[in-house]
């Protein structure tokens, strides 16, 4: 089944077209990497798919719900971990988690149980009473991702989840994201190519608002005629290899 299907999705900002008639399909349970250089249109695409901004034209279905006509239904079944750490600074780690669970409809008891699980999954029990503002960048990022997962979303958008993390924290997060494979549909944007190559089932490369190529990392390398993924990316994103 298709978790996400965009139909000629367009986003224009005044005289600039950020996304040009995007047709993209992501299957249920898939971990899909959306790559591109800055300004390629991937963040705008994520914004439209997560109902943060409305398409200028076209539409997208998220688990069968239109982002244009049924944004309430889309919002209820997906969650986002934004690029920058998105936590309530003056709330504790536990309060942040329970707050998100409750605005997605959990009662007090359920929110507490879900927070307990997240604290355990992300090894945050020792800091559960610490205010988010006092945590290091790595812990804040971890909390931000836990806040996206606590609602058990059917579709999860991870926007640059490992940006700014040290090597160990990044690798730990990779392992966690790998563990989510199959449980939910994940759209991952990243500038770390080895992250996409290692984690993603399929990868789409965007350039100048268009999807230039998509497939597995191996398929993309074959398409670009190289056995190095970074070179493949540069070739596709830079030269605009046709899909």
């Amino acid at each position: 089944m298709e978790a996400i299907k965009t139909e000629k999705l367009v986003k224009k900002y005044k005289d600039k077209t950020a996304v040009k008639g995007l047709d993209l399909t992501v299957h249920q349970g898939e971990l899909y990497g959306l790559l591109g250089v800055n300004g390629a249109g991937k963040s705008t695409t994520i914004k439209m798919l997560s109902c943060l901004t409305q398409p200028t034209s076209g539409d997208a279905q998220v688990m069968g719900h239109s982002v244009v006509k049924a944004s309430d239904q889309v919002k209820a079944i997906m969650n986002v971990s934004p690029q920058e750490t998105a936590v309530a600074a003056k709330l504790s780690v536990r309060e942040n988690l329970e707050f998100i669970a409750r605005i997605y409809g959990s009662d007090k008891k359920e929110a507490k149980a879900k927070a307990d699980k997240m604290l355990e999954d992300f090894s945050m029990q020792e800091i559960e009473k610490s205010r988010a503002a006092t945590l290091s960048g790595g812990w804040q990022r971890r909390l931000s991702i836990a806040m996206a997962l606590i609602t058990d979303p059917e579709v999860l958008f991870l926007d640059e989840p490992t940006l700014g993390l040290d090597v160990l924290a990044r690798r730990e997060l990779w392992n966690f994201i790998s563990g989510l494979k199959g449980r939910m549909t994940i759209i991952l944007t990243t500038h770390y190519l080895e992250e996409a190559e290692s984690l993603c089932d399929r990868i789409g490369i965007m350039s100048r608002g268009e999807l230039r190529a998509e497939g597995t990392a191996e398929e993309l390398k074959a398409k670009a005629g190289t056995d190095n993924f970074e070179e493949a990316f540069i070739k596709i994103a830079g030269e605009g290899v046709q899909k």
């Binding site: 914004k47 309430d72 003056k90 707050f99 409750r102 997605y104």
Partner: protein
């Protein structure tokens, strides 16, 4: 449920900033104490009637509520600068729930502020009566006017700009046009007309009439305030919704 959950988060954000809380309650108190002391040193019959404690105390409670605009605008404008708001915008919370969630935590603060102010005024000769409790209730729609103004400005202006607009400009304008410090009819002309159009002087008159036990005089002015409270709250929701769509 979502509104109360969001309001609970905002309550924690406000109450964990002790400096704001102390400033919000203490500043009107300092003014009340200073002006009451000045008024006491003026011989009876020579001072302005505005500074008689039965007029001054309700006026200061209304003036104190103008600081809620600053708190509300700072809260919403600060949220808008963080990625946390992106998370909220992608959640099922609706614009009206956002605005209510920002409004509700500030109402208890308004009640505490008014209660403390009237309690302090008792030491300066204000008569203790049930009217004071009623006056605290009358201050609720007045508080909503100031909160909605703050949310309206906080929805469109930056965190830095709202400090100037709500902290300096609005506080001063609401004071000048309020009849607290001087009678606007003494200035007359366009100034008095503007004062009568804006909600601030009506708010003060309603509060003063309540403290005086002049019940028939409360409502013409309070209706004016309630109408402003409704219109400004609806406007805040509409502007917030528009900002959300424009994201």
């Amino acid at each position: 449920m979502r509104t109360l959950t969001f309001a609970s988060r905002n309550t924690k954000e406000i109450t964990r900033d002790l400096l704001t809380l102390i400033f919000g309650v203490a500043f009107p108190l300092v003014l009340l104490v200073l002006l009451s002391a000045i008024n006491k040193s003026i011989p009876d019959g020579y001072g302005p009637t505005n500074f008689l404690i039965e007029n001054l105390a309700p006026g200061i409670t209304v003036f104190g509520l103008s600081f809620l605009s600053l708190f509300a605008s700072m809260l919403i404008a600060k949220d808008r600068t963080t990625s946390f708001v992106l998370r909220l915008f992608t959640s099922p919370i609706r614009p009206a729930e956002f605005i209510l969630g920002y409004t509700l935590p500030l109402l208890p603060m308004a009640l505490v502020q008014s209660l403390v102010c009237y309690a302090c005024a008792l030491f300066f000769g204000l008569q203790l009566s049930a009217n004071l409790l009623l006056a605290i209730v009358v201050n609720i729609p007045i508080a909503v006017v100031f909160i909605a103004l703050g949310l309206l400005f906080g929805s469109v202006l930056s965190e830095k700009a709202v400090g100037g607009v709500c902290g300096a400009l609005l506080t001063n304008l609401s004071a000048w046009f309020s009849n607290i410090w001087f009678d606007t009819s003494m200035v007359g002309g366009a100034f008095e007309t503007v004062a009568n159009i804006l909600p601030f002087s009506h708010a003060v008159k309603a509060a003063q009439a309540t403290v005086a036990g002049d019940y028939t005089a409360i409502f013409p002015d309070l209706w004016w305030v309630i109408a402003y409270a409704v219109v400004l709250t609806v406007a805040a929701v509409a502007v917030f919704a528009a900002k959300l769509k424009k994201n």
